[in-house]
Every structure is written in structure tokens, then in C-alpha cells.
């Protein structure tokens, strides 16, 4: 299946869910809305031809220019981009899904943005989403056990956010 | 020895002093033995693993390494977990060590060289060796650590289970010999190595391997070292121990290894009797004087120690070669393989002894269950009192220190016994009673 045909097929199945695609990029990607994500994932995994049965990686890229001088020239509004790298074991094909999220839910600082959990689709997403929640601060709705995984449970903040500041002290250990 | 002291001291004190001296001498067997075995283990393990092992301490071959290790352990801090049961935690290593040490009391190192000559030596050894598990259980329970508790429970389950096949294996040589007296069992295997019980019949040959397997299991060596399985239970029952207390556990383990191998040597490999009766051929018997007899026994002891050390070395070899079994597999091994095999072999050995009372090879001069003429005389000769030699016609030699009346009484008793033995020599079985009576005098 060619790239364009695949995108057309997806668009047909999820009319408003698919908001963009770039087939020229190094890793061709498809962008979907947060609401459509879980359905698109189910579809990609269960479709008899596509069979994207392995989730390789979930990454969150924080688009925020912290330097005020550069911020004016930045080509983007501050947002989070959740990137899903999928792989089909039978077809040996990879696919990139992207979802754009606000940095904070309802623009209230400290309120983590919400996104449907795909742990019910690929069980490996359980740990990957925990890692994303821990380091990048995305609240996965419907996750069975959304706790910090790499940082201690009482850690404050999400270190891979661009505006994260290392705490001065943690249980008597100097941080900076 | 008690008699010697009783000429200078009141008899109760003489007994006490004698006992103390013997215990102190014997204490060195497990202590020095453990040191030696740890060194052997380190060297053997190193060689198996393509390493050198200790090379420097003490000059050649690192033979003093264990002294250095011991010093290190002595200077370590004696730690105890806060939640531990203080008294039991401290007591546990000694319970284990005492059980292991006590067994040495009944283990003959050579013909008649045994601290406490028991009629039921085999029984005593098995019973006391089984007590070692108490130390482990106490240690595991008192440590207040879950890993220790796991180790203790495994040990309890394992040792209790393996007592059954172990006992059954030991019964076979006992049955062939007709006695539980270890010295008597050893004496019956005199002569060529074909007289050893392992070559007595096919069943004893098989049962030796069952015995050795069960022996390894009952002293917790790999592949049955579940109680201290370091990849699962950190260190099992001695997780919380350090320094000297840990050292004591260690020594108890090596002491037990020696005992199990030593028991195997006596029950199956002729004990102190070499593959060929070298001492007899060289004339190192009591018939040629006390010194000659002493030298013969010393040779016998070397024989015994060599066989036991060989057994321990095999255990070391096994440990560094095979992976560890799982607890259910250990139990399966015991209940589904060792016990039935031991039972069948026991039955087979019984039938064999019944069918071929004289053996089938013809190499053996006399039936088992009896003692050949030479042996019967040796029984008399092994008595260290000069009176026995008198009875055999070596009168006058070495009897000079004794008061005349005691000497005379001995002569009479020995002569009577000598006749009894001579009468029974050609064909009749030498009863345990004969052994007992001859032995009673010998001390």
C-alpha cells in the first residue's frame, strides 16, 4: 500500500480524526486528534492488512521556547507533541502517529493535559505511558496504574518539560 | 588413658581430664579440617574455573590464606538485626556447630581409634547429624529476615525428607555387617579392596551413589544448597550473620561434609583398610609389637582421611559444575527417586546376602557376617593391653609397667576370649557379643 493510499484510507475511516500527514519526512507521519487517537490505534492494530501490532516507543516533545529573545521568532505556539512509533511485525513496516496537546489542560499551569491511554491496545504502553507521565507530564486517562516509574514517587515536576527547574533540595540532597 | 590418669588422680577426675583432652584433640579435627577444606575448595574451584586461587599468603599455594580469612572474620563487626531475637540469634551457630562436632566423637579414624566406641555408632551419627538442622532453623527464625526464614524452611523440609533415604542407604551395610558398630563394620572389610562393601554386590554399588547424593543433600551442598541459594535467597539462613558467627556456620558445614564422606568411607570403602592390606604385608600389626601396631593404625588413619577428603573433593567438584535444583525438584528427587531406589536396593541386598552367603566371586574367603580367622585374632590383638599379647604367646613383652595381679587377671580373661574366638574362627559367625566383650577390655 502506498503512503498516499494509506492516508486516504485512514481519512475515510476517521473523517475528522486525521488532521495532517507528511509523507515526505524521513519518517512519514500522520497526525490525529486526541479524541480519535484510541480508535485510530485500535484500527491500526486490528486491521487485517495493516496490523501494527507492536508499539515501539512513545515520546513527548515539548515545544516551548524558554529564551524570551528567541520566543518571538519561534515558528510554533507552545504545545506538546506526543509521538507514537508503531511497527508491524508481519509487514515489517513502521509508522509514526502524532498527537498535539496543550502544555497545560485548559491553560491552567500545573494541570496536566489529558490523553486517552492506549494501554488497552498495546500492553507495552503501560510502562511507556508511565514514563511519559513521569518525565513529560501527560495524564493518560484510563491507564490502569499511572504512577511515576523512573523518578521517586514523591518527585515534584516533570523533568523533560522545557521549563522544568531542578529542585534545590530533595530529602536533604543538594540539587543544584 | 583414663587408666593412666587414675593411677595419679581420683577416678572421676581422671575421667573428666581424659574426656577434656580427647575433646580438645578432636576439636581440632573440624577446625583444622574446615580450614583445610576451605583452602581445598578455593583451590579446586579456582582450577575448575580457570583461575589460580590463593597464591601468596604463607608462601606457596596460599596455604595460609584461610588463617588470614579467619583473622579477617574475627575482626569483623558482629552485627545483629535490631528486630532479631538476640538470644536465639547468638545461640544458633553454636547449636549447628555442636551437632556437627559431636558426631566426630563416634567416628573411628582407624581401627579402634575412636573417642567414644559405640555399639550403635551409625545410629548415633545419623541422629546427631540430623540435629544440625536445628541451628539452621533457629538462625533463620531468629534473624527476623524473610530471606533467612525462607532458607530455614527449605532446610527443614529438605533435611527431614532426606533423612529417610539416607537412613535406608546406611541400613544396607549395617545389615550386611550385622552390626551398627562402625569399628566392626570397618574390620569386616579388611583385606583386598574386593572386600569393600561397595563391591559386595551390585545393590551396594548402586546404593553408594544414592547415599552420596542424599549425603550431599543432607549437608546442603550444591546442587542441593537451597537453604543458602545465593541467587534466590541472598544467602539464605545466614543472610544476617557476619564475622565469627558466620565462620561457625561455615565450619559446621565443612565438618558435616567430612562426616558424610567419612561415613561413606567406612560403610562402603573399607574405612581405614587400604585397597591392598599394606600394613599386614609390611608386618605393621600388633603381632609385631605395640609400635608396629601403632604404625599400622596410623597408616589406616591416613587411608581413612584420604578417602574422606576424596569424598569432600568430589562434593566440591560437583558444586562448581552443576546448577542448583529447585525446591520441588529436590523433593521429587528424594521422594520419587532416592527413597524407592534405596528401598529396592535394600531388598536386593538382603536377598543377595541370603542367596550367596559366601559371595559369588570366590575372592572372599569367608562369608559376610562373619569374620575371618585373621580378623578374629586381630580383634584380640588390637587390644592395647599387653595381656592380650601374652595370650597370643608374646608373653613378657611390654607388660612391665603393670602390677602383677592385674596382669594375671587380664591373662586369664584374654585366654578365655582367645579360645572363644579361636573356636568360632573357621566357620561360625563372630557374634556382636564377642566384639563387645573384647572391646570392653580394650579400654
Amino acid at each position: 500500500m502506498s503512503g498516499q493510499a494509506f492516508v486516504d484510507q485512514l481519512k475515510k475511516a476517521f473523517a475528522d480524526g486525521v488532521v495532517g500527514a507528511n509523507l515526505e519526512a524521513l519518517d512519514p507521519w500522520v497526525e490525529v486528534t486526541p479524541e480519535a487517537l484510541i480508535d485510530v490505534c485500535r484500527y491500526l492494530k486490528n486491521d487485517a492488512k495493516l496490523r501494527f501490532d507492536m508499539l515501539n516507543c512513545i515520546t513527548v516533545v515539548d515545544y516551548l521556547e524558554t529564551d524570551p529573545k528567541k520566543a518571538a521568532k519561534a515558528e510554533f505556539e507552545p504545545h506538546l507533541e506526543v509521538v507514537y512509533h508503531l511497527w508491524s511485525v508481519p509487514n515489517k513496516v513502521s509508522l509514526v502517529l502524532k498527537v498535539k496537546l496543550p502544555r497545560w489542560q485548559n491553560d491552567e499551569e500545573g494541570q496536566l493535559p489529558e490523553l486517552a491511554s492506549v494501554a488497552g491496545v498495546w500492553r507495552t504502553a503501560d510502562w511507556h505511558e508511565r514514563e511519559v507521565y513521569d518525565l513529560s507530564g501527560v495524564n493518560f486517562v484510563g491507564h490502569p496504574n499511572l504512577r511515576r516509574i523512573l523518578c521517586p514517587e514523591d518527585w515534584v515536576g516533570h523533568p523533560l518539560r522545557k521549563d522544568y527547574e531542578m529542585p534545590l533540595e530533595y530529602h536533604g540532597i543538594r540539587g543544584r | 588413658m583414663a587408666e593412666f590418669f587414675s593411677t595419679y588422680l581420683p577416678s572421676w577426675l581422671a575421667q573428666l581430664v581424659t574426656g577434656l583432652i580427647q575433646c580438645v584433640i578432636l576439636l581440632h579435627v573440624p577446625l583444622v579440617g574446615a580450614m583445610f577444606f576451605v583452602w581445598v575448595e578455593r583451590k579446586a574451584a579456582a582450577r575448575i574455573q580457570d583461575r589460580l586461587g590463593p597464591t601468596r599468603v604463607g608462601g606457596m599455594f596460599g596455604w595460609l590464606q584461610l588463617l588470614a580469612d579467619g583473622l579477617k572474620l574475627l575482626t569483623k563487626e558482629d552485627l545483629r538485626p535490631q528486630e532479631a531475637d538476640a538470644m536465639l540469634f547468638r545461640l544458633a551457630p553454636y547449636v549447628g556447630f555442636c551437632a556437627s562436632f559431636t558426631v566426630f566423637l563416634a567416628l573411628p579414624f582407624s581401627d579402634g581409634w575412636v573417642v567414644q566406641w559405640l555399639d550403635v555408632g551409625v545410629f548415633f551419627i545419623l541422629a546427631v547429624l540430623g540435629l544440625e538442622v536445628f541451628g539452621v532453623i533457629l538462625a533463620g527464625w531468629a534473624s527476623a529476615s524473610k530471606w533467612s526464614l525462607f532458607g530455614a524452611m527449605r532446610e527443614a523440609a529438605q533435611v527431614v525428607s532426606y533423612e529417610v533415604p539416607l537412613g535406608m542407604c546406611v541400613v544396607v551395610p549395617v545389615m550386611i555387617a550385622g552390626t551398627m558398630d562402625l569399628v566392626a563394620i570397618g574390620r569386616m572389610q579388611e583385606g583386598l579392596f574386593t572386600n569393600w562393601f561397595i563391591f559386595h554386590d551390585p545393590f551396594t554399588f548402586v546404593i553408594f551413589f544414592v547415599y552420596f547424593t542424599c549425603g550431599i543433600a543432607s549437608v546442603n551442598r550444591a546442587p542441593f544448597d537451597l537453604a543458602e541459594a545465593e541467587s534466590e535467597l541472598v544467602a539464605g539462613f545466614h543472610t544476617e550473620y557476619s564475622g565469627f558467627r558466620w565462620l561457625i556456620f561455615y565450619m559446621a558445614e565443612y565438618g558435616s561434609m567430612f562426616i558424610v564422606s567419612g561415613l561413606a568411607a567406612i560403610l562402603f570403602f573399607g574405612g581405614w583398610n587400604g585397597p591392598i592390606p599394606l600394613a599386614d604385608l609390611l608386618g605393621l600389626t600388633d603381632a609385631n609389637g605395640e609400635l608396629a601396631g601403632y604404625l599400622g593404625r596410623f597408616l589406616g588413619m591416613l587411608n581413612f582421611v584420604f578417602k574422606s577428603v576424596l569424598g569432600v573433593t568430589v562434593m566440591i567438584w560437583v558444586r562448581w559444575t552443576v546448577p542448583r535444583l529447585r525446591i520441588d525438584q529436590v523433593m521429587t528427587m528424594c521422594l520419587k527417586y532416592c527413597t524407592p531406589i534405596a528401598a529396592v536396593m535394600f531388598l536386593g541386598a538382603t536377598l543377595w546376602t541370603y542367596t550367596f552367603p559366601g559371595g559369588v566371586t570366590g575372592l572372599r574367603g569367608t562369608p559376610y557376617g562373619t569374620v575371618r580367622g585373621v580378623s578374629a585374632q586381630r580383634v584380640e590383638l588390637s587390644d592395647l593391653t599387653p595381656a592380650t599379647e601374652d595370650a597370643e604367646g608374646a608373653a613378657g613383652e611390654g607388660s612391665d609397667n603393670k602390677p602383677a595381679e592385674e596382669h594375671a587377671g587380664d591373662v586369664a580373661a584374654a585366654a578365655a576370649d582367645g579360645e572363644a574366638a579361636a573356636a568360632s574362627t573357621p566357620s561360625g559367625p563372630l557374634s556382636i557379643a564377642t566384639f563387645a566383650s573384647s572391646r570392653a577390655r580394650s579400654r
Partner: protein, 406 residues
């Protein structure tokens, strides 16, 4: 003191549970435990010897590698990749270098490619040797561990000669390698391979076919192919479950072109046989596809496969043209874009994701760890097994905490 604590917290439901539920026990396995391969912590809920639940807790070795990557140029980040899977540093270097090259669209000379194959496959051998040895250790057999380390030492000696380091190499870097191989290195390498091949048979005798080993590993921790894929397991763990996937053959062009023209078969069971099965011990009757034994066996066969690949690579390297690298400036600007590339590392598929906004320093760096996914299946495999099987299962996944925690 115990009673005081009891009264003080008598209302605490945890205390009540602890007191009342005497049949179950919660045990901490690790982070200080001899067989958790580093600082893994497993919380086991046990009923006697039976483990009803095993929950892994990770993060004790977290070193913020991804955050560090956002502040360093790609070439500066290479040493940090060494410290991920520290048993296969070369493969980590390679994965990162290839991902950066993919982003920069950088073509490297043929000689450098073959050099990379030699080095990467040698490190795969070293990593699998450690995996094999530590697995023996997990099952209570100490000696094979030292045999494995003896052979690994020789590989490390070769690496030391090539790049000066024995553990954290930083040898394969963006654009090729830091140095060319020294003179006579290839001869030494060939001599080592000649010597290694017969030694493998010893390992098979000591472990693979050992009766106790088979009892401990066969039919333990069985993982179906579907479960393996669902949990994102890769590498020998995935192939041990019978899934035919090896990125050296199936991966992206950026990676597979290194192996163009090489003759090798993916080590996976087909119809009850492995490739080259006839030369090596047969599968025991008790072994089930996807159990610990198969995962172990796949690694053993991959060692032989890698020996073969190194031999082929040495031949090609000798006749190859070009240099060992193309120079890349430290402050060279990265093109704008994103690149994700997975490579077949010894433990599984290691992926690196770089997002660049046209500066010399990447905007975002992400490392997809194979062991992370492989470990996440632990609680699934350990449910209902015996306590002694927990090290056997975790060991068969061959994890390295440095890579999991990054």
C-alpha cells in the same frame, strides 16, 4: 517495642493486613540482591514458595540521559550512549550514530561500514557471553560465568587495542569510527574467533544440555508470540518466542545497508529446528517455544552467527575502499526534522529519536530501550511460578539496568 508500634498504628489497614494475612508474604527482591542484574527491585507476593505477584520497580539508575542529550551536540552525546547498555557500548554508539546520520543524511564510506559490522558483532558476542554466564549464575552454576568472562576479556583486549577503552568505548561515532583499526588487529581477531568456536561446545555441555539446567529452564516462563509482541519485546526474547524478526534483515535501509550482501539466517525456530541446528545440541523434549531455555539458546546460536558475520566483515574490510570515517564538525548544524531509527542490539531493538530545529544541539533526544519493554513482561511471566524461577525468568530476559533507567 513491637507491641508499641502495634498499638500506635493499630488503625493502619496495612498493619492489619500484615497481621491477619499470615499465608502471604511481601518480599523485596533487590535493589540489593545478587541476581537482579543491577539495581532492579522486584516486590514479590509469595504464598510459601509460590510467587503470586512480582512487581518490578525501576529507576534506581536513572541518569537523565535524554535531558542531557538536549544540551549536547550529537558527537558529545556518544559517551552517554555507552552508559546505557554498558555491556554492549559499541552497539549503543552505533545506534545513536546511525540515527544522527539518518537525520543528517550522511553517507559513510564502505570501509567504515564493514568496520562497524566487525565491532558491533564482536560486542554482540561479548554481551551474549555475559548474558549466558550470568544466566548460569542465576541458576546456581558459577563456573560458566567465569568461562564466559575469560572469553569476554579477550574481546575487551581487542577493543582496548582499537579504541583505548574496555567498557565505555565511544568508538563508533557520527560519521564512522574515531580511529581505524590498528595494524595486525584483524589477525588477532581472527585468531580469537578460531579459538572461540570450539569453546562454545563446552558451554553447551555445561549449560544448554545439562540435565539440571534443562529442568530449571525448560517450560519455565513460557511467553507466547502474541504476548511478546504485545509487550513490545524484541531481540532474542522475541525470537525465543518464535517470531521471525531481526532488524539486521528487516530494519530500515539506514541500518540494513551495513549488512548488504552478508550471508546470515535469522535465529528463530522453524518446525522444531533452528538454523544450523544439526551442528548444535537438539532441543530437549521438555522445552516449549518461548520458555527460558529457548531464549537462552537463541543467544547461544547468535554468538555463532556473529562469529560468522565478523569473519565475513573482516574479508570485506580488507578489500574495502575509503576511509574509516567522514569528518563531522562538533558544532555542525543539524538539518531541521525528526529521525527515529532502531537497531538490533544484543538485548533487543534499541531506538534513538532525535528532533532537531536546525541547530547544532538537538531539541529532543529519546532513547527507546529494549530492556525496558522486555522487563515489563516480568509480572506476566512470574505469576504463579516458584521463588527460584524468578531469577531464572528475569535472567532469561537478559536485562541491563543502565539501559532500562537511562
Amino acid at each position: 517495642m513491637a507491641t508499641q508500634t502495634g498499638t500506635a498504628f493499630a488503625d493502619d489497614p496495612r498493619i492489619i493486613e500484615y497481621d491477619v494475612r499470615t499465608d502471604e508474604m511481601l518480599i523485596n527482591m533487590g535493589p540489593q540482591h545478587p541476581s537482579t542484574h543491577g539495581v532492579l527491585r522486584l516486590v514479590l507476593r509469595t504464598d510459601g514458595e509460590i510467587v503470586s505477584e512480582a512487581v518490578p520497580h525501576i529507576g534506581y539508575l536513572h541518569r537523565c540521559a535524554e535531558k542531557i542529550g538536549e544540551n549536547l551536540a550529537p558527537r558529545q552525546f556518544v559517551p552517554y550512549t555507552d552508559r546505557m547498555d554498558y555491556l554492549a557500548g559499541m552497539n549503543m554508539n552505533l545506534g545513536w550514530a546511525l540515527a544522527v546520520e539518518k537525520l543528517m543524511n550522511l553517507e559513510i564510506p564502505e570501509k567504515a561500514k564493514h568496520l562497524r559490522v566487525i565491532i558491533a558483532e564482536m560486542n554482540r558476542i561479548a554481551s551474549h557471553l555475559v548474558g549466558m554466564g550470568t544466566y548460569g549464575l542465576d541458576l546456581g552454576s558459577f563456573s560458566p560465568f567465569l568461562y564466559a568472562f575469560r572469553e569476554r576479556e579477550k574481546i575487551l583486549d581487542l577493543f582496548e587495542e582499537a579504541c583505548g577503552a574496555r567498557l565505555t568505548y565511544s568508538y563508533l561515532t557520527v560519521g564512522g569510527a574515531t580511529h581505524d583499526l590498528p595494524a595486525t588487529w584483524l589477525e588477532k581477531c581472527e585468531a580469537f574467533l578460531d579459538q572461540l568456536l570450539p569453546v562454545i561446545t563446552e558451554y553447551h555441555t555445561l549449560l544448554t544440555t545439562n540435565a539440571i539446567f534443562v529442568r530449571r529452564a525448560a517450560n519455565i516462563g513460557v511467553m507466547s508470540a502474541a504476548t511478546a509482541i504485545d509487550f513490545g519485546c524484541t531481540g532474542p526474547v522475541l525470537r525465543g518466542s518464535g517470531v521471525d524478526q531481526d532488524l539486521r534483515r528487516d530494519g530500515e535501509q539506514w541500518y540494513t545497508e551495513m549488512y548488504d550482501g552478508y550471508a546470515f539466517e535469522v535465529i528463530v525456530e522453524k518446525d522444531g529446528h533452528y538454523p544450523k541446528d544439526h551442528e548444535y545440541p537438539a532441543i530437549p523434549k521438555t522445552a516449549v517455544l518461548g520458555d527460558c531455555w529457548h531464549r537462552f539458546y537463541v543467544r547461544m546460536l547468535e554468538v555463532i552467527q556473529s562469529i560468522d558475520l565478523v569473519r565475513q566483515a573482516i574479508d570485506r574490510y580488507r578489500t574495502a575502499t575509503g576511509s574509516h570515517c567522514v569528518p563531522v564538525k562538533l558544532n555542525q548544524k543539524l538539518p531541521k526534522g525528526e529521525a527515529y531509527l532502531e537497531t538490533e542490539c544484543p538485548k533487543g531493538q534499541m531506538g534513538f529519536f532525535i528532533v532537531s530545529r536546525g541547530e547544532a544541539i538537538p531539541w529532543r533526544v529519546r532513547a527507546r530501550s529494549s530492556c525496558f519493554s522486555n522487563l515489563s513482561v516480568t509480572h506476566e511471566l512470574c505469576r504463579g511460578c516458584l521463588l527460584a524461577d524468578v531469577p531464572a525468568i528475569v535472567g532469561s530476559l537478559d536485562i541491563v539496568m543502565g539501559e532500562i533507567d537511562r
